[in-house]
């Protein structure tokens, strides 16, 4: 410390010093804010949203953190939050950085929708294999059918780093056949319906990797925004559509080169008559037609984009309040889309491009990939729901007549159902934040009752059947760090595959049966 002297001379020196130091101090504060923003982007934004507006994890800004104790926030960052994906930053960030972040977050408002233009997208393309003719003609590993490939989105504990990758497994041997590092958490894996060698992985930070499954490597990547998992592939395998939470846009890409072809600003009038800018919900291609359907979450609209000159859009309005995910039925002609805030699933006819009916769907429906099975001549759809209010049920709908068949009580909130034409049970993941989160419940397809509860460990979620229906894969996520495999009839554990914080599981078989649970025959009527 400066020893403040009492002589006038010393005083004048001090004044001079202060004059030098003060502007420097102001500069330091600005630098500090910039550093703190970078720290946020590098550690927090992939889950909490690049605009501080929340994404998978809560919004962190001056409004949402108002009145929160800085000490409590600091210790939450240090230790992480149990029963959530929030990891401990102790040892990764210094104490000064954590303190700085807390005060930065508590003083920063939610940012304006950032821009990420078609030029930004174009410039972000990276080419890892420039000559694709050099790629092998067949898989470089032993596999009977590419449908047997199962991809797992491994988030990595910190949502980024070397643990973040897509892991591919042969679902007949349960052995890993490859992995693609993704830098940040992999979220969605989609497969090209026209050519079994291509897969597309989308991360939480909105990069898309085009992957050659035969040689298990990424050949290209593109950054389509800052956050948002929405991804669909067209039935002819020529186009990809991606939608973002941040910014509020969507883009159609050439599936081969990843070149952006057209961007869409997501905005519209919501069911309450308000003009809103909107996050992207699900994006889906369908075997029914050369179209994409995309949900505008906040605007409550579904847009149908025709894959022809100019990519014209048909807007279906007033679908619901806060749309999220969806699944297809009837050869891909019917789209079942979940609406959080009014707890319905809306059935949309993609031929007529209008709403068929709105069906009761429990409480805060999240249908995940959805499931549909044929039982005794009826096509039944299964829908999970978060159950944030008082109802924790799995809804069963008759997808021919579009009516509710049953609401099956389950142990807690659920996030994703899995079914298969050859498996006796529909599996649903219980996500309620206590020991129930370790479990998956199994519903008998015929009796529509819960008949068994499996203790998988970790935070068990995203069940998925192998393409032949013989095995049930479940992610033991969070700190569970493995994917557990069960025999789908005896429900005995047969294998486990280690990886860091596994989440979504995506069978290549989905390209054949469109929606999990339907027989591949269902697809034949589509063309």
């Amino acid at each position: 410390m400066i020893n403040i002297a009492k002589t006038p001379l010393r005083k004048s020196i001090l004044t001079a010093l202060a004059a030098l130091v003060l502007p420097f101090g102001a500069q330091a504060a600005a630098d500090n804010a910039k550093d703190m923003h970078q720290l946020f982007e590098d550690n927090c934004a992939s889950c909490h949203g690049s605009d501080h507006g929340g994404f998978l994890a809560p919004a962190l800004n001056s409004e949402t953190l108002k009145g929160r104790s800085p000490t409590a926030l600091r210790s939450l960052i240090m230790t992480g939050s149990f029963d959530t994906l929030m990891p401990p930053f102790y040892g990764r960030l210094t104490d000064d950085q954590i303190r700085g972040l807390v005060s930065h977050l508590q003083s920063t408002p939610k940012l304006a929708n950032p821009s990420w233009t078609i030029d930004d997208i174009k410039k972000s393309i990276k080419v890892y294999v420039s000559d694709e003719s050099t790629l092998p003609e067949k898989p470089t590993y032993a596999i009977d059918s590419m449908d047997d490939v199962i991809g797992v989105a491994a988030r990595g504990k910190y949502g980024r780093g070397s643990g973040s990758k897509a892991v591919f497994i042969n679902s007949t041997t349960h052995k890993q056949i490859g992995e693609i590092p993704t830098g940040t958490a992999a979220h969605i894996i989609d497969y090209n319906p026209a050519n079994p060698r291509w897969a597309y992985i989308k991360t939480d930070t909105a990069e898309i990797f085009k992957v050659d499954l035969y040689s298990m490597q990424a050949v290209r990547s593109v950054k389509t925004g800052f956050n948002g998992p929405g991804l669909g592939v067209s039935r002819d395998g020529k186009y990809i559509m991606a939608g973002s939470f941040v910014p509020h846009n969507a883009v159609i890409l050439d599936a081969d080169t990843l070149e952006p072809l057209k961007t869409f600003e997501l905005e519209g009038i919501d069911p309450d008559g308000k003009m809103v800018s909107s996050d992207s919900g699900m994006v889906i291609g369908t075997p029914f037609d050369d179209i994409f359907a995309i949900a505008l979450e906040n605007a409550g609209q579904v847009w149908v984009v025709d894959l022809k000159e100019g990519f014209p859009v048909t807007k279906i309005t007033d679908v619901g309040r806060h749309l999220h995910d969806a699944f297809l039925s009837h050869g891909g002609r019917k789209l079942m889309i979940a609406s959080y805030d009014d707890s319905i699933v809306a059935a949309i006819d993609l031929k007529e491009r209008k709403i068929i009916k709105k069906l009761e769907a429990g409480c805060v429906p999240h249908v995940g990939g959805g499931s549909a099975v044929e039982v005794d001549g009826r096509t039944l759809g299964f829908g999970t729901n978060f159950g944030d209010c008082d109802k924790t049920v799995v809804s069963v709908w008759d997808l021919d007549k579009m009516e509710v068949v049953k609401q099956i009580p389950v142990a807690g909130g659920t996030e994703s159902p899995a079914a298969h034409a050859n498996a006796p049970y529909v599996a649903v993941d219980i996500i309620s934040k206590d020991r129930r989160a370790r479990t998956v419940q199994l519903i008998d397809k015929k009796s529509l009752e819960v008949v068994k509860t499996l203790d998988v460990g970790g935070h068990a979620y995203f069940p998925e059947y192998s393409a032949d229906g013989k095995f049930l894969y479940v992610s033991a996520g969070y700190s569970g760090d493995e994917v557990v495999v069960y025999d789908s009839t005896s429900l005995q554990k047969v294998a486990s595959v280690s990886m860091e914080s596994p989440a979504g599981i995506f069978s290549h078989g989905r390209v054949r049966y469109m929606t999990r649970g339907l027989s591949p025959d269902e697809m034949k009527g589509a063309k």
């Binding site: 240090m78 230790t79 990595g156």
Partner: protein, 103 residues
Amino acid sequence: MKLILVTASLLLGLAAISNANAASIYAGQAKAEAVCSQCHGIKNPSAEAPFPPLAGRDADYLKTALKQYRDKTRQSDIMNAIAGSLSDDDISNVATYYARLKP
């Protein structure tokens, strides 16, 4: 009433046996999942994490280390705080559980 008393004494007896006996790996698993795994993982910590793996480590080493953290003869802000919440039984259970795991 008599039934309750008999049941209670049986339960007490069981508790005494499990205390006197070897550590419970089930209790160890529950504690490990609730307290340790957030940083150290179950089979492995994150590849990116600055925390050492615990699975497959020598049980006596783990017990000694946890007790040292608990009585602060080994210094670490965060481990002193966490180990401070563990009883002798907890330490024994957790150490036995992790020692039996294959990383």
